[in-house]
């Protein structure tokens, strides 16, 4: 990366290696707060009476309405989930809108209503908001920022740096639904099976896990941009451990598999907006699976792998053929195949 001559590329926002490089080369140089340097999707800090978690995210998506959701509900779910992945109980969010001149008010009202409904379902309050309007061409219809805070239960220590060899890795359901729902809407590609986004708030599932397992929950992470492959790589680096997963155990919907075959995508790298990865102590694995599966959003949960001492900072996947291969972070943007 040459800071004097290079420009920001779309791939810098794809959640993979280039996003990481941008963060390290520019943002971490100036934002060096210890809470931020933990590189989780949230910050945890002490306040009188306990600890709170805080997270912020900005949402830009094309199209703004897609099967299973819209940019408004996505902005609420995403931030609620980022806060919840610390083990916290989210309590409130703020929101900021950047609106492009010309946006239909009818669309804006649908989006606001969707945010209200999503916040109601998650049990969080939208307590402060801001709006800016920019000239046509200066933004793409609507961008939404949301910031959330939550309260962390006493004794709960969850973070990307807490994975330990022997821990078991669980996934709360099928991967790639959101990525394919949005890609197929954007490209105008229709499949015989319509794939809907999994966009949803996971704070109830997290609360149930933390209540049932206590300090046996070591890591929680929602695999959004960059997908399952990227978050597992992040965790392996944060905890300095190896991760081994089994391809056959990872749930993928038929429609997502088919779309990936057509477009040349790998479901491991597709975005999810309503799934979590839980890494728990080995003796708690069965209980964790039962708790996640008893949640309405976790019926297809599965144990997908384990944390190992071998190959630290690397993710390896066993394939159904009896072979294995490396699972790297996403490089650049995922682009459809040529032939």
């Amino acid at each position: 990366m040459n800071l004097k001559t290079d420009r920001v590329l779309l791939a810098h926002g794809a959640g993979g290696k280039m996003s990481q490089a941008l963060t390290e080369r520019i943002f971490l140089k100036y934002f060096d707060d210890p809470a931020l340097l933990m590189l989780n999707d949230y910050a945890v800090f002490e306040v009188p009476g306990g600890r709170i978690a805080m997270s912020t995210d900005t949402y830009t998506i094309d199209p703004i309405f897609f099967p299973g959701g819209d940019i408004g509900s996505l902005a609420v779910h995403g931030t609620v989930n980022d806060v919840a992945m610390s083990g916290a109980i989210p309590i409130a969010i703020s929101t900021g809108f950047i609106l492009e001149e010309g946006l239909l008010l009818e669309d804006l009202e649908i989006i606001a209503g969707s945010m209200s409904a999503a916040a109601g379902t998650a049990g969080v309050r939208i307590v402060t908001a801001d709006t800016k309007v920019v000239p046509r061409g200066s933004a793409d219809r609507i961008f939404i920022n949301t910031t959330g805070i939550g309260i962390i239960p006493a004794g709960c220590v969850i973070g990307g740096q807490e994975a330990k060899p022997g821990d078991v890795i669980l996934l709360s359901g099928t991967i790639g639904d959101h990525g394919i729902a949005v890609a197929s809407s954007r490209e105008g590609i229709r499949f015989s099976t319509v794939v809907s986004s999994d966009s949803a708030s996971l704070n109830s599932m997290v609360s149930a896990l933390v209540r049932a397992l206590g300090d046996q929950v070591h890591v929680l992470r929602d695999p959004t941009r960059g997908g399952l492959a990227t978050v597992l790589n992040e965790i392996s680096v944060q905890s300095n451990v190896g991760i081994r997963i089994n391809e056959e155990a990872i749930p993928v919907r038929e429609g997502v598999k088919g779309a990936c075959e057509l477009l040349g995508y790998d479901p491991l790298y597709l975005a999810n907006e309503g799934k979590l990865v839980a890494i728990v102590a080995p003796e708690a694995a069965d209980n964790a699976l039962r708790v996640i599966r008893s949640d309405p959003l976790g019926g297809e949960a599965a144990i997908i792998g384990e944390v190992v001492r071998d190959h630290p900072r690397t993710v390896v996947m066993n394939t159904p053929l009896g072979g294995h291969r490396l699972v790297d972070r996403l490089s650049g943007e995922m682009l459809p195949r040529i032939c």
Binding site: D6, L9, E187, G323, D328, L335, P336, I338
Partner: protein, 369 residues
């Protein structure tokens, strides 16, 4: 998944792997098989086939990734359409990874970041739509690919002619597979025992297209699909031929590939285009290995319309071993740039750009960093 899971069945795979190991041990020598197509390369890595093959069977990636074989001069000319004074009057349409391939000084991706209107599409038909929607602009489709994709572009050009679209053109950087294979083996320093031939190109060409080739060079050629079982069966069939000292064309993809291929598509292709000499990255100019426009469709040739033949271009970086990699002479990790100056995020050579490029696949699935 129906029609897919059947071709990934672990129990059948294990039986085929056993057969491959048995044949390989009876051969008692090292065998190098070239998978010509980038889709095969990716499937071999993704399914873990590389990790289950016996040590004396090596798979080598060939020159079948359309992004990898696009010459630097073609990249520079395509990029010139997206920048410079005419930038605001052009819309550049292209497939996937083409935006990331570096030219001598820049790439389409970087020109996008500077304001060029470059659009990635899964269908060349989209570019006709954009031509209709933007009559004041020139829409140029960057035509890369093998026999799999070029007939579709030929159909789009015919449609543009019928519709009388005057603001649509194609940069023809297509490639034909058989001449490249001949050039590869005529090169002399290539030691390959057999070829795994690409399923989709063969759907168009037909298995018969490889017969003169297998007989002239005495190499087994087996057409295979892209599912793990297709590939394992193809490898097994090549080893069987080597054991029996045969050099025939086998078809492990008979559910899709016929003897004569898709004659309608090939006729359409030759109605719009005709074979011409073409530059390949790292391989030089190969006679009759590309496609140029026929006279009746010359009005759609972007090279003629925009005078691109005169655009100055550079050459491949001297340290880059893409040419040797494409010929199977050098494996990606042997390139001095692999994983150091050249990574999928900062590619120097085209083999590191495309998700189907051999260097990118090595890096991604074997840990290049």
């Amino acid at each position: 998944m129906k029609y897919l899971d059947e071709f990934r069945d672990p129990s059948i795979a294990k039986a085929l792997i056993g057969r491959i190991r048995s044949s390989a041990s009876r051969l008692s020598r090292s065998v190098k098989i070239m998978e010509i197509c980038g889709s095969h390369t990716v499937s071999i890595f993704r399914s873990g086939i590389k990790s289950v093959l016996p040590p004396n069977v090596t798979m080598i990636s060939g020159p079948g990734c359309p992004v990898c074989v696009t010459a630097m001069e073609d990249m520079d000319r395509m990029i010139s359409l997206a920048c410079g004074e005419e930038r605001d009057s052009h819309i550049i349409a292209t497939f996937g990874d083409m935006i990331r391939v570096p030219g001598t000084v820049t790439s389409l991706e970087r020109e996008m970041a500077s304001g060029a209107d470059v659009r990635v599409t899964t269908s060349p038909l989209d570019s006709l739509l954009w031509a209709e929607e933007n009559p004041e602009k020139e829409i140029v489709f960057l035509g890369v690919g093998f026999e799999t994709t070029s007939p579709t572009v030929a159909a789009v050009v015919k449609r543009a002619k019928t519709a009388g679209l005057a603001n649509f053109s194609v940069y023809p950087a297509f490639k034909l597979l058989p001449p490249a294979l001949e050039a590869l083996l005529d090169g002399g320093d290539v030691a390959i025992d057999g070829f795994l031939c690409p399923g989709h190109v063969s759907i168009m060409l037909g298995a018969a297209a490889y017969r003169p080739f297998s007989s002239k060079y005495q190499k087994p050629c087996v057409v295979a699909g892209f599912e793990p079982l297709d590939i394992l069966l193809g490898i097994s069939m090549i080893l069987d031929q080597l054991l029996n000292d045969k050099h025939e064309v086998g078809n492990a993809y008979s559910r899709a590939v016929s003897e004569d291929g898709n004659q309608n598509a090939m006729s359409l292709l030759l109605e719009v285009f005709q074979p011409c000499d073409a530059p390949w990255r790292g391989l030089g100019v190969i006679p009759s290995s590309g496609l140029g426009f026929n006279d009746a469709f010359m009005a759609f040739d972007a090279v003629e319309r925009f005078g691109l033949a005169a655009v100055p271009t550079g050459s491949d970086p001297p340290e880059c071993a893409c040419g040797e990699v494409l010929r199977g002479v050098t494996s990606p990790p042997e390139c001095p740039l692999f994983g150091l100056g050249c990574t999928p995020d900062m590619p120097i050579g085209s083999c590191m750009v495309s998700s189907e490029g051999s260097c990118a696949a090595w890096f991604k699935y074997s840990g290049g960093g």
